[in-house]
Symmetry: C2
Subunit: 408 residues, 2 copies
Amino acid sequence: MALIVQKYGGTSVGSIERIKIVARHIKETKDKGHKVVAIVSAMAGETDKLINLAKELSDRPSEREMDLLLSSGERISSALVAIRINEIGAKAVAMTGRQCGMVTDEVHTKARIKSIDADKIMEYVDDDYIVIIAGFQGISEKTGDVTTLGRGGSDTTAVAIAAAIKADVCEIYTDVDGIYTADPRIVKDARKLDKISYSEMMELASLGAKVLQIRSVEFGMKYDVPIMVLSSFTFNKGTLVTKEDENMEKILVSGIAQDKNQARLKINNVKDEPGIASMIFNTIAKNNINVDVIVQNVSDDGRTTDISFTVPREDADKAYELLKELSKTIDAGDVSINKDVAKVSIVGVGMRSHPGVAAKMFDALAKEGVNIRAISTSEIKVSCLIDEKYTELAVRTLHDAFNLSNKG
Amino acid sequence: MALIVQKYGGTSVGSIERIKIVARHIKETKDKGHKVVAIVSAMAGETDKLINLAKELSDRPSEREMDLLLSSGERISSALVAIRINEIGAKAVAMTGRQCGMVTDEVHTKARIKSIDADKIMEYVDDDYIVIIAGFQGISEKTGDVTTLGRGGSDTTAVAIAAAIKADVCEIYTDVDGIYTADPRIVKDARKLDKISYSEMMELASLGAKVLQIRSVEFGMKYDVPIMVLSSFTFNKGTLVTKEDENMEKILVSGIAQDKNQARLKINNVKDEPGIASMIFNTIAKNNINVDVIVQNVSDDGRTTDISFTVPREDADKAYELLKELSKTIDAGDVSINKDVAKVSIVGVGMRSHPGVAAKMFDALAKEGVNIRAISTSEIKVSCLIDEKYTELAVRTLHDAFNLSNKG
């Protein structure tokens, strides 16, 4: 008998039929003798519908009220799932973010969890109830107002609750059946992974894989909660996100990610003086634009440099305008923008102990004539910025080069 | 400068356009120098949509979860109205039932208000905010769960909050522009009343007039809150529900109500013994069926009686089956049912001091050949049960007989 947390995403509870399927699966888990706490997202499309209503009323809807508005979607689906479970003969109770003691900071629309009252949840669990919790929401510690955790926040709710109640596993049900070595829409023989480490999963999530919200993986790693990613459409065995083990380290590369939401900006002839680069990046950061791959080339005479970096594509025009302004102030040269770039990345904890992985990546790409425009690395990943048109070719090439379709 | 509570019903906030109109009107009230607290219902149709979702999942959805589900509608509209007011240049904040300290008993789907935290509301008001409150909902004093106040509960929320914050007036905005001497769809020259007393309004509400929830009027009377009923489509002067005054007592009849949601049941040859009648009405009451007009005829020999009474039409078949069963147990006679009946009523505080009002009603109906099948009276109303087909004729006849189209 285990204590199991399950999380069902928007498509998993996207219709009355889907809610019936999910309710039945939750009840079946209980019938096997387990204790179950389930977290649900809003029915697919509901959150966007509410956002659109708000946008019709205001260009910049107040964030405090947006949180109150958007939290309704999860309240509705949690009530509906609990109603269905009661109907089919098990005891279920729905709880809101407030009721399960989900206390956050006061940063509306992207609040962070401060504490969870496991006692309230466990009172129901110990009384033989299945507990259905509205994901994505909490209340502010300071004001008592409703807060939300940002897009994908229900993943974080689920893992945080699993940590708080010391669950044996947190099962994340979604519309894909696990984590793959590469996007199966691009690579036909992409392979579903049985296991992946938290740190690899975090890299993949930050590199464009959208299966799990990155903060949920952070929580999992911090509190050592095994996370199983699986499909609510097939209910097949999925991918376990867990602690690193020896076997994982034997594998050079676990997965490949691509991200087309990239644009590259370049500012030429920047004086190579202390404080100039930080002035550039501070200007960008103050405007809430995330900077990614940064490359700096010093000119032959060593007196000026060219600085380039990538930003999310939707922020590119704004960043471009900012840079052009700044270029005048700091007496630099031309500013250029390129939106036709993409980032391909290889991820694997094995890289730590195996040198030469990056070189092998560059070789493979070069052989296919794919130019690398910039490189960024961490301990367990290598990312290359390439021309967007080569994205699929690059992903397939790397998948072959690292032999990912064959189980390590 | 006044402290004004406004309440907007479902049709008043039933679309983005309507929300814009309502937000503008609230802001205009504030711009005149008043302090404003507004209570909003769910957008028209939303509550029914949620009820239908639940019904697709369960024949008898759990009431605790229904309350969580249904409270979402008002949360959404309160957030949207506040977002719009912020957009057009005034400070607004949305509050849920919990946030404004609306504490109720734990009777889900028809909870009763126990207390309200006026301080939380007034903090915002004193800080120059317009406060938009989600109507219809509270939290249970014992469990902290979300509760709702039943259909029309936002009226009660509004009047109760007006009482708690000692507002100068509670304006109820709806899709009609006041209280009429009779239903204007039936009586062409029905007249809008400038004023009506709480007790008359309570009778009218309980007799089928659907403008105000009866409990809201009770609250108004108990805490002496002047209630103005008016239209959010015309914003014309409406009807003030207030304390009785001398002028009101001069008028015999203030209004006429009709209710077609009636069915009459009759059980014959009931032994005229102590305890038998109470057994009948206890059986009906235990099944949550409200009994209305009761008539008991003793037979010539004084040993048996015929008992008849009315129930809401939707409960008629159930009550009929219960009575048939019971008739065997208590050795009574036939049970009959008649769904083609209606109730017409005249209401007026003037009746107290003017005898002969009932007689005048019976005369007027008799002259038009309308048979009276049962009568029920209170201090300030007379109701007659008649054949349903005569309803409109009866209402028009009484409107003429008591000269209601001419202002007293």
